[in-house]
């Protein structure tokens, strides 16, 4: 009983007539990616690096910009609002997206249709969608007009330019990033596991709780990470539909750049980037999520 299931090794077939030499085999993937790598280096890595450098060498080499953040009330409030919004948006997309993902994974003939319905807004500009939310949520917007017309309200609700408007619009825009990874993991769950659970006496709810939900955790982890990190850096939507006093980190950065306050903007950018990286690193280390991310599905 020493035999252990072997994992398949990845083989990249190189369809050359002559067997390529060993050096070529190793170099080929890097060469193929070279144009993109050079592009990213010149137009992404270098600008980001030079921007980040400004946070420590403008006007002289110093860490005072970072030290100053500790009792900078504007920054602390902004940072708190950014994290708070991201958490709410992530929870909102998870609660609304999981059932949709479940439906998408179970659908057979209607799956392409559901997918198109999910992706249709995805292919529309964020700017356009944010404007659309302004039309819907405004003081004389569709929602208020409808509520007034039915007599449920006597005076219009103030939704636009509140944190709630930001949250509603961001949840809508970020939903596909939550649905797609979850649906993808759900679809990979072997249907015989669900049958086995049912045959062994688990009711549909218990099958969901004890089999489907834990097996979909890699997708949930991916969706949560994706949405949270994207929400951290969201700019257009909170700027357009959010409240004037509820400024997010990305809005503060834009404001500082407008005022040519480059060092401060660079420091804030570094903080935003570090926060995103720290969250990705932390998520991988969480025992439950880490296990889920590493888990072999078969």
């Amino acid at each position: 009983m020493s035999e252990v299931a072997q994992s398949p090794t990845l083989v990249i077939p190189l369809g050359a007539a002559k067997a390529p030499t060993f050096a070529w085999r190793r170099a080929a993937p890097i060469l193929l990616a070279a144009p993109l790598l050079i592009y990213m280096l010149v137009f992404y890595a270098l600008p980001v690096l030079s921007m980040l450098l400004r946070s420590v060498n403008d006007p002289i080499w110093t860490l005072s910009h970072y030290a100053g953040l500790i009792d900078d009330t504007v920054f602390l409030k902004t940072f708190w609002i950014t994290l708070h919004t991201s958490v709410i948006v992530t929870l909102g997309t998870l609660l609304l997206g999981y059932p949709v993902a479940l439906g998408l994974a179970r659908a057979r003939a209607t799956a392409p249709l559901i997918l198109i319905v999910i992706l249709l807004p995805f292919w529309t500009s964020v700017l356009v969608r944010s404007y659309a939310w302004m039309v819907l949520l405004g003081r004389h917007g569709l929602i208020n007009e409808a509520l007034l017309a039915t007599g449920l309200l006597e005076r219009p609700l103030r939704i636009l330019n509140t944190p709630l408007a930001t949250q509603i619009a961001m949840i809508h825009i970020l939903l596909p990033y939550m649905i797609l990874p979850i649906a993808n993991t759900l679809r990979q769950i072997d249907p015989s596991l669900v049958r086995a659970a049912s045959g062994l006496g688990a009711t549909p709810w218990k099958t969901f709780r004890q089999v489907i939900l834990p097996l979909s955790m890699p997708g949930v982890a991916a969706g949560v990470l994706l949405v949270f990190v994207l929400a951290l850096g969201f700019y257009i939507t909170p700027a357009m539909v959010g409240g004037p006093r509820d400024i997010t980190l990305s809005m503060l950065i834009a404001q500082q750049v407008d005022q040519l306050n480059w060092a401060y903007a660079a420091t804030l950018s570094a903080v935003l980037l570090a926060t995103a990286l720290a969250i990705i690193a932390a998520a991988r280390r969480l025992p439950g999520v880490g296990n889920a991310l590493r888990m072999n599905m078969r």
């Binding site: 299931a5 072997d190 596991l193 086995a196 045959g199 062994l200 099958t207 097996l215 888990m295 072999n296």
Partner: protein, 368 residues
């Protein structure tokens, strides 16, 4: 009508299932006794797995009834049927340890933790995997995974165990070991087993009874030796073991023996029906029941004889296998136990073969 034993009795009545107007199971009626090891045997697409899935409750019958211990279960969801089930791909939960996998059905039934640990331990002993409880399924070999699946299916003491080609993915030696273990488990537990396979050898060695399925119907039900010695149709004769088929024309009856003309000679065969004289029939006989008439073998009981030419001779260790051709061109197979004392035939040699009436069966009557 509760069965007196530890096993459930299962009764299928006129069971039908159609998928998108294509019939998968077409009128299966079968009574499975309490404590029996019954195998559904058939080629792929014969409806055996669909029948099993309907018993388990994963498929809803289009028509007909399924009764367990005399009570119809058609309207009952799978999780209330209390049936053990083993799948071909094991279907172990990858996120649970071996212990948690086996404890799963107990947890659903609200068995307290301490009791659960004890029962899981016993089940692991039963499948010879003590000490493996803390591992994850992916850390086990295919054979070990199937043992865990087996333990999980019996730990809650169901009265009926369903198995869908459980050994299909394993290599030959492991398969034979597990076949023996399943026989032993069946004897120990005394519960009813319904086993699905396309492997006729597996079906013959393990089952109390076999139901041979073809085209969504039960072609024949019986003990393994009945099916092998008395196939009721050409399909069963061809599917279980190897068979020679001899087309013949009825010339008369002697009690329950039909005398038929085949390749210019008279052949006698056991015959449950009374075909009319002149009717075209199909006779069958097994390759290992044919003998060379001059092979030093007592030929007095072997009434059926035929002159043939050897067209192929293969030495296969424990036996020799000969392809023979009769005068009219039809080919037959003869298997002879090998012995250094028996002269081996050479290709092109003419020989007389002989076999007994009891080993000749009519499988088709009234061919036009």
């Amino acid at each position: 009508m509760n069965g007196p034993g530890r096993g459930a009795s299962v009764s299928l009545a006129g069971l039908e299932k159609t998928f998108d107007r294509v019939s998968a199971v077409d009128g299966v009626s079968l009574d499975i006794r309490s404590g029996e090891f019954l195998t559904l045997l058939g080629p792929s697409g014969s409806g055996k797995t669909t029948t099993l899935m309907m018993i388990a409750g994963f498929e809803m019958p289009t028509a007909g009834d399924i009764a367990i211990d005399g009570k119809s279960v058609v309207a009952m969801p799978p999780y209330r049927r209390n049936i053990g089930m083993v799948f071909q791909n094991y279907a172990l939960f990858p996120h649970l340890t071996v212990e948690e996998n086996i404890g799963f059905p107990l947890k659903q039934r609200g068995v307290p933790k301490a009791e659960r640990v004890k029962l899981v331990g016993e089940a692991l002993e039963l499948v010879h995997l003590p000490g493996y409880g803390a591992r994850y399924p992916r850390q086990l070999s295919g054979g070990q995974q199937q043992r865990v699946a087996l333990a999980r299916a019996i730990v809650f003491q169901p009265r009926l165990l369903l198995m869908d080609e459980p050994l299909g993915a394993l290599d030959k030696q492991l398969r034979e070991n597990l076949q023996l273990e399943m026989r032993r488990l069946h004897a120990d537990l005394g519960i009813t087993f319904i086993y699905v396979t396309h492997d006729q050898e597996e079906a013959l060695t393990m089952s109390d009874r076999i139901a041979v399925m073809n085209d969504g119907k039960v072609a024949q039900v019986g003990r393994p030796e009945d099916l092998y010695d008395r196939p009721s149709s050409r399909f069963v004769a061809g599917f279980i073991g190897e068979s020679n088929f001899l087309p013949a024309i009825v010339r008369g009856m002697e009690d329950d023996v039909v005398v038929a003309e085949c390749k210019g000679v008279l052949i006698r065969a056991l015959c449950p029906v009374r075909p009319a004289s002149g009717a075209k029939i199909m006779l069958t006989t097994r390759p290992e029941r044919l003998r060379f008439a001059d092979g030093g073998w007592n030929a007095t009981t072997a009434q059926n004889r035929l002159i043939v030419t050897v067209t192929e001779a293969v030495f296969a260790g424990e036996r020799c296998r000969y392809m023979l051709q009769a005068a009219d061109g039809t080919s037959m197979v003869l298997k002879e136990p090998s012995s250094a004392a028996i002269r081996r035939r050479t290709v092109g040699e003419q020989a007389e073969i002989a076999w007994s009436v009891a080993d000749t069966i009519l499988v088709e009557a009234g061919l036009v």
